[in-house]
């Protein structure tokens, strides 16, 4: 009788251990995915900065507009981790202000390289939008998983830092959602 009980207890313990390590593995994978998504987001932002910088120095825009964009790019590149979101949002606003200028499209139409440059800025900005969505999504799931009682009691996240959401203004289109590029 007592042996039966012990066997059942051991089996239950084994099941529990397997379950816990499965949860730990899941958390670990989530943390890895957060990191990968963050790298993708950083790369997307770098790509956007480069595209904006190229547009600024292309000579297609007037000097005031070029200077504005160049200064926003510079701030975004120089920003430390704590200011990154603000600086990137400022770059978004500078791009949005550029593209919302009446007559910009017709002015640039047909000029050498203008179409490719504008398409690249637009594509890069859209990539930032997507990469940020994905990053925040996996960050949210990770934060949620870390909050579970089991994860907290057994410290399943180990030393992995809690991911933070990346909030920024990332829409270079005008309010009505119409793409201006």
């Amino acid at each position: 009788m007592i042996w039966t009980f012990i066997v059942i207890a051991l089996f239950a313990l084994l099941l529990f251990v397997v379950f816990v390590s499965w949860r730990a593995g899941r958390l670990d994978r989530l943390h890895n995915r957060v990191e990968a998504a963050r790298t993708a987001l950083d790369l997307a932002m770098v790509r956007r900065s480069s595209a904006a910088s190229e547009l600024a120095s292309s000579g297609l825009l007037d000097p005031a507009n070029s200077l504005l964009l160049a200064s926003a790019v510079r701030r975004a590149k120089d920003a430390d981790a704590a200011e990154r979101d603000l600086a990137e949002s400022d770059l978004t606003r500078a791009l949005r202000a550029t593209f919302s200028q009446p007559g910009l499209r017709s002015e640039l139409d047909g000029q050498d390289g203008a179409t490719e440059l504008l398409a690249e800025v637009d594509a890069a900005a859209h990539q930032v939008f997507i990469a940020r969505k994905f990053y925040n999504d996996v960050a949210a799931r990770t934060i949620d998983a870390r909050r579970r009682p089991l994860a907290r009691v057994f410290r399943l996240s180990g030393n992995a830092p809690q991911p933070e959401f990346f909030e920024m203004d990332d829409s270079i289109a005008e309010d009505d959602g119409a793409r201006t590029v």
Binding site: A56, S57, P63, L67, L68, S71, R75, R93, A97, G103
Partner: protein, 375 residues
Amino acid sequence: MRIGVACPYSWDVPGGVQQHIRDLTETLIELGHDVSVIAPADDDKPLPDYVVAAGKAVPVPYNGSVARLAFGPLSVSRVRRWVKEGNFDVLHVHEPTVPSLSLLACWVAAGPIVATVHTAMPRSRVLLAAQPVLRSALEKIDGRIAVSEAARTTLVEHLGGDAVLIPNGVATRRYRHADPLTGWPGTGGAIGFLGRMDEPRKGLSVLLRAFEILAPRRENLRLLIAGPGDADEQSLKLPPELRQRALFLGEVTEEDKVRVLHSVDVFCSPNTGGESFGIVTAEAMAAGVPIVASDIDAFHKVLRGGSAGELFATGDAEALAAAAARLLDDPARRAELSVAALAAVASYDWEVVARDVVSVYETVVLGRATVGVAQ
């Protein structure tokens, strides 16, 4: 002379540069010159006769704060037309390193160009990065004016060369007399502030903290605050029991601004930087209000090293509270500072300044054709 003036910031929004241009232009007109100003402005807003609207300015982040600037094809074509039709003897651009109309005017124009630099900034890497863009436009400038030593240093560092120092003018007559707002300053003491509430460098939060220190022991002390920005947001920075004692007027007319200056016992300029002259402080001096100001270079100079107004350690709310308390308790000292401020500010009157500016114009036009469109 026929003078074309380019203003980089929205004409509808109050600001030091716009005010400078308005006062200089009106004084030049009084002196018999023919002046046209191009500025970002809505087409449907009423403008003075001498202002040409270059279209609506766009709010954009620039250098860490949001500025309303004009750029893009529409602005370029309006500036070009203004230059072409203006037939100016001289073109005078303000803040040519700001990405707006002044830079565009430099870019499209050919002929005698004078530039005034207002703001002092640390040597900016931004400008270095974009220098090729700027250089061709800025190289056309024949005469440079800086409104302060700090602005002159900035200009020399950014553009090389040198600049004539012509300080800002103050329309002293306009500030000398006004009726206080009803119920002000009262008997319990009143401290005033003028400026953008949400621009951190204007230092309103330093004043609010100082008020928190002063308020418990001075039950009737009040704050009078005017300037663009969200008043509710600022008011929430005060503890609930003090909110009643701070009046936030929001943006006020020029006329009310003068009344505000006459409605307080002490005027406070708590700026933490970014100021190259301190026009608002000088206007307060012209109103004869005793002043407490932070010890930044610009205020140090305009307040004659502290003899025409109290200086306190920049950003230090306790030092501000102590300085304000000393003044509030000492009417004799306040009267003394008022007289000293009026005397100090007389040398900044616009007529003095405008004549200096005209001699710069006269120098750059010597032997030159009038201003035309480049290319």
